[in-house]
Symmetry: C2
Subunit: 173 residues, 2 copies
C-alpha cells in the first residue's frame, strides 16, 4: 500500500485549485471542489476538516460558506498538507527486535537499549530526507507549474465553471 493516502492527493489538488494562475486565492466550498475534480464529496469534506484543524485553511460556516487558505499559498508546503491529513506517521515502526534476543531471557542488558535502534536510526534519517524534500515545495509552486503548462484560457475556464455552477444553483432554487 502507498504510504501517503489518496486523501493527501485529493487535498493537495484541492488546495491547488484554490489558487488561480496569478497566485491569487479564492474561497471555495467542498461540493464545488468535489465536483470540479470528480472526487467523492463526503470523503473530501472530512479531509478539509483535517486541513482546518491543522490550521492550513479557514472555514466559514453557514450558507455561502466554504474554505479559504489560512495563509499565503507559498507558505503552505506539501509536507504541511501531508501532516495535516495523514498525521505524523512513521515510515517504519521499530518493534525493538534488538531487545528480544534469546540470549537475554526477558532482561536485556542496559547497553542494548542505549540510544535508538540502529535500524530505526537509518529509517528515521531516510524519512527526514523525504520530508525535507516535501517541505521544499509549496502549493503555489504546484499551482504555478500547472498553469504554466496550461493555455491561458484554462484559468478563465476554471473561473467560469465555478461561477456558472454558482449561478445555476441559485437559479434551480
Amino acid at each position: 500500500m502507498a504510504f501517503y493516502s489518496s486523501g493527501v492527493e485529493y487535498g493537495i489538488h484541492s488546495l491547488m485549485n484554490m489558487v488561480d494562475a496569478k497566485g491569487n486565492e479564492r474561497e471555495m466550498n467542498v461540493r464545488e471542489m468535489a465536483e470540479l475534480q470528480n472526487v467523492p464529496y463526503d470523503y473530501l469534506a472530512k479531509i478539509f476538516t483535517r486541513l482546518s484543524r491543522a490550521g492550513l485553511v479557514v472555514s466559514s460556516e453557514g450558507k455561502g460558506g466554504g474554505f479559504r487558505l489560512a495563509r499565503a499559498s507559498e507558505l503552505i508546503t506539501v509536507l504541511d498538507v501531508v501532516h495535516a491529513i495523514d498525521g505524523q506517521k512513521s515510515m517504519f515502526e521499530c518493534k525493538e527486535i534488538r531487545q528480544r534476543l534469546a540470549l537475554f531471557e526477558e532482561a536485556p542488558p542496559a547497553w542494548v537499549c542505549d540510544g535508538p535502534c540502529g535500524v530505526r536510526s537509518v529509517m528515521d534519517s531516510a524519512q527526514q530526507r523525504m520530508e525535507e524534500e516535501l517541505a521544499r515545495h509549496t502549493i503555489l509552486d504546484l499551482a504555478r507549474k500547472m498553469h504554466r503548462k496550461a493555455p491561458d484560457t484554462f484559468a478563465i475556464e476554471v473561473k467560469e465553471w465555478i461561477s456558472n455552477r454558482r449561478t445555476q444553483q441559485t437559479k434551480s432554487v
Copy 2:
C-alpha cells in the same frame, strides 16, 4: 500504517545476525534466526525466500542447510533489503486527478497529460531522497554499529548460543 512492513525489520535484523563482530559472515538457518530473535518462524521463512529470490542470500537445501549472504555484507544496502522484501512499492500512488477536472468532460486535452503530474513529481523526488539515504547504509555498517555498543563478550555469547543450540538439537535426536 507504516510504509515498510515489519518483515523488513525482521529481515534486516536477521541479516545483521549473520555477521559477527569482525564482519565475518556465518551461515544460519531460519529456525535458528527465528528463535534467536524471538520472531515467528513461518513468517521469517517467507522473508528469506524473498531475500533469496532477490539474490541477497543463497540457500542450501536439505538437512544442515540454511542461508548465507550472497555477497559481502558491505555490499548489501538497507535499500536492497527493503526492495527484496517489500518490492519496489511507491510511497504515493497518483490517481491522475488532473485528468478528472469536470471542465474536460471525459476528454482531457493533451497538455494535461504532458509529462508527469506535478504532485507526483514532488512525491517521487521525495521518495528518491529517502531511498538514497537507505542506500547509504549497509548491513555491515549496522552490524558494526551494534557490536561497537556491545561488550566484547556479546559476540562470543551469540556464537555460543548458536553452537549450543546445534549440539542440543543433535543430542535430542
